[in-house]
């Protein structure tokens, strides 16, 4: 084969690779693009055929309605529920993980039992939980959902943080103990800084889980703490669906997660790959 044809083959391969990558990119990004673009369209443009790929003018009326009607509060509700439950789950989960790793609390297999809780489908327990919450008067309250989200995220946090803490050399902690730290100080001054990357990565995933949660929020909220995932369903009507509102609400709900993930992307990628190496 001549040099020329070799170079041509290489070019052809490269072109194929880029072509495939572009195709995949479009496949995954298009729905998101479509969601955002609908939220800026007029009702005419939404139902127009052939589809309007790009609106003539961006208009924010769909968002304005959400704020005027007070529906946008649901994003704030989601933010409070996901944020607070993430912080609590991270604090207690990290402490549990530390105890599992360093003191072998509950024996060697306890961690597997803990993570198995995560595998339970929420629908299996939603009914008893609903009855319990009605009895306790916790339905439609921040506290009720925060406790539930924390409980559901704890196993994940414990499992992930366990891996990160196992990677911290024991000598660092022992040295701190000899140098004058208590166990709490070791946790604060050695374990947290050493596992910082893992902490951020785990926190982001925990936050996203709680943020996207739907079934508990649907059953356990009425009017006070409706989350944005539940709010979106309110726009699906018997006669018609309010696509403009659905799109605007969904876009509004995507923005906080989008910002969080972009800010912490550096930690996220490193955190995930750290876990991958550990296995």
């Amino acid at each position: 084969m001549t040099n020329f044809s070799l170079a041509a083959t290489r070019r052809w391969k490269l072109a194929c690779r880029y072509g495939l990558a572009s195709l995949l990119l479009v496949f995954f990004v298009f729905p998101i693009y479509w969601l955002f673009i609908i939220s800026f369209k007029t009702p005419d443009e939404i139902f127009h055929f052939p589809p309007v790929w790009y609106p003539k003018s961006f208009q924010f009326a769909n968002y304005a309605v959400l704020f005027k009607d007070g529906d946008a509060v649901s994003v704030l509700n989601s933010l409070i529920l996901a944020g607070v439950s993430t912080v609590i789950a991270m604090i207690f989960g990290t402490m549990c993980a530390y105890s599992l790793v360093r003191f072998k609390t509950g024996g060697e297999d306890f961690a597997v039992w803990v993570i198995s809780q995560r595998l339970m489908p929420p629908i299996a327990i939603i009914f008893p939980i609903f009855l319990l919450y009605v009895y306790l008067g916790w339905v439609d309250s921040y506290g009720g959902l925060i406790i539930l989200y924390t409980a559901f995220n704890l196993p994940y946090v414990i499992w992930m943080m366990r891996g990160y803490i196992e990677d911290i050399p024991l000598e660092l902690e022992e040295s701190a103990l000899v140098d004058g730290c208590s166990r709490w100080a070791v946790l604060w001054k050695v374990v947290f800084p050493m596992a910082r990357t893992g902490l951020f990565a785990t926190a982001v995933f925990t936050f996203v889980f709680a943020w996207n949660e739907f079934i508990f929020a649907l059953v356990l909220t009425r009017t006070e703490v409706v989350t944005y995932t539940v709010q979106v369903t309110h726009y699906f009507g018997g006669q018609s669906n309010f696509w403009a509102k659905i799109a605007a609400m969904s876009a509004l709900g995507t923005v906080p997660v989008f910002i969080t993930v972009s800010l912490l992307q550096r930690f996220l990628v490193r955190g995930i790959s750290m876990g991958a190496v550990k296995g």
């Binding site: 050399p169 660092l172 022992e174 040295s175 701190a176 103990l177 000899v178 140098d179 004058g180």
Partner: protein
């Protein structure tokens, strides 16, 4: 400065009995080295003194105070770890200051102490750097700095030099010895390296399988090993062990080797069995230049198997009584493999051991 007294210390991990009744006294200001093969319990002993492992049974007293139930931070000790244990997210300054900050010391005092320790160790220029920007030797200096700023009553070293290359190890060994001379703090040092043990120690404690095999000054332990194990552990190249049978040779006892060689023994030996082991260090087994046999001298002729020149000395491997032995000769005298070499040693330097118990016979 303080003394350490350990009595009847036992420690088990699950079903494994790691420390089997340790009795040890370390006088104030002394440099004691715990040495032994891996798994002998020396690191466990050190960690138990530090409070990182709980005492199973027995007592540990530091400056007369029983520290069995004290937390590590309340024992006023400092420890230097094998892998340095530096915090990668803190600068060198903050690493050294870590223990002082943990004890809520005031800033100006922290500055004063860190700077003086850095000066002492020659790392003043590195204070703003981070551990990953340092070489192995520099990291070890920082780890030592972190220990000395605390002004502890007891210094513990857990194989601090084993991660360094040979040249740096020699250098740091000298610095640690100088540190002890300057500070005069009681130091306890764990190593598996017998050269470190011999060069650093005021007193060597040789451990084996959870027990103290022998302790004493380095020279004393080296020249008068209590057991075959001690004799074999200290010294490089290793001492030669030659086994033989006890026989009567007229008016005195003698030892017959498996190759038929008869070695007369210097005195009557209280041996328990019919066999005996003779230990002779390579530097005492040399080339014989004189044809006359002096009193107490043993002469042997053997074919050379291996020649290993080191520059100043040459090690020659020969076979005596069926076992490979090493003789040390002047560099110039080294023969070639296959040639016959005349060797001699003085029975004064020979150490005899009971083959079953391993105890030295005096």
């Amino acid at each position: 400065m303080s003394d350490v007294r350990i009595s009847e210390l036992h420690k088990t991990f699950g079903t494994v009995h790691v420390l089997k009744g340790i009795d040890l006294e370390i006088p104030a200001g002394e440099f004691t080295v715990l040495v032994g093969p891996s798994g002998c319990g020396k690191s466990t002993l050190l960690r138990t003194i530090a409070g990182l492992e709980e005492v199973g049974q027995g007592d540990i007293l530091i400056s007369g105070v029983n520290v069995n139930s004290l937390r590590p931070r309340d024992r006023n000790i400092a420890m230097v770890f094998q892998n340095y244990a530096l915090y990668p997210y803190l600068s060198v300054f903050e690493n050294i200051a870590f223990g002082l900050r943990a004890r809520k010391m005031e800033d100006h005092e922290v500055n004063l102490r860190v700077n003086s320790a850095a000066e002492m160790l020659g790392i003043t220029g590195l204070l703003d750097r981070f551990p990953k920007q340092l070489s192995g030797g520099q990291r070890q200096r920082v780890a030592i700095g972190r220990a000395i700023v605390r002004k502890p009553q007891l210094f513990l070293f857990d194989e601090p030099l084993s991660n360094l290359d040979a040249q740096l190890r020699d250098e740091m060994r000298g610095e640690i010895k100088k540190l002890h001379q300057d500070l005069g703090i009681t130091m306890l040092y764990v190593t598996h390296d017998q050269i470190e043990a011999m060069t650093l120690a005021d007193r060597i404690v040789l451990m084996r399988e959870g027990r103290i095999e022998q302790m004493g000054s380095p020279l004393n332990v080296y020249e008068q090993p209590a057991t075959r194990f001690v004799a074999g552990f200290l010294g490089s190249p290793k001492i030669n062990f030659i086994s033989g049978e006890l026989v009567d040779a007229g008016d005195r006892q003698a030892m017959r080797l498996s190759d038929g060689e008869i070695i007369p023994l210097p005195k009557r030996i209280q041996a328990w069995g019919h066999s005996i082991v003779l230990g002779i260090r390579p530097q005492h087994l040399g080339r014989s230049t004189d044809s006359k046999v002096k009193a107490g001298e043993v002469k042997l002729s053997r074919p050379i198997e291996i020649v290993q020149p080191t520059g100043s000395r040459t090690y020659v491997t020969i076979k005596i009584g069926g076992t490979q032995c090493i003789a040390e000769t002047e560099s110039m005298e080294a023969g070639r493999p296959g040639e016959i070499i005349d060797l001699s040693f003085d029975l004064q330097h020979a150490i005899f051991f009971d083959p079953t118990s391993g105890a030295a016979i005096f």
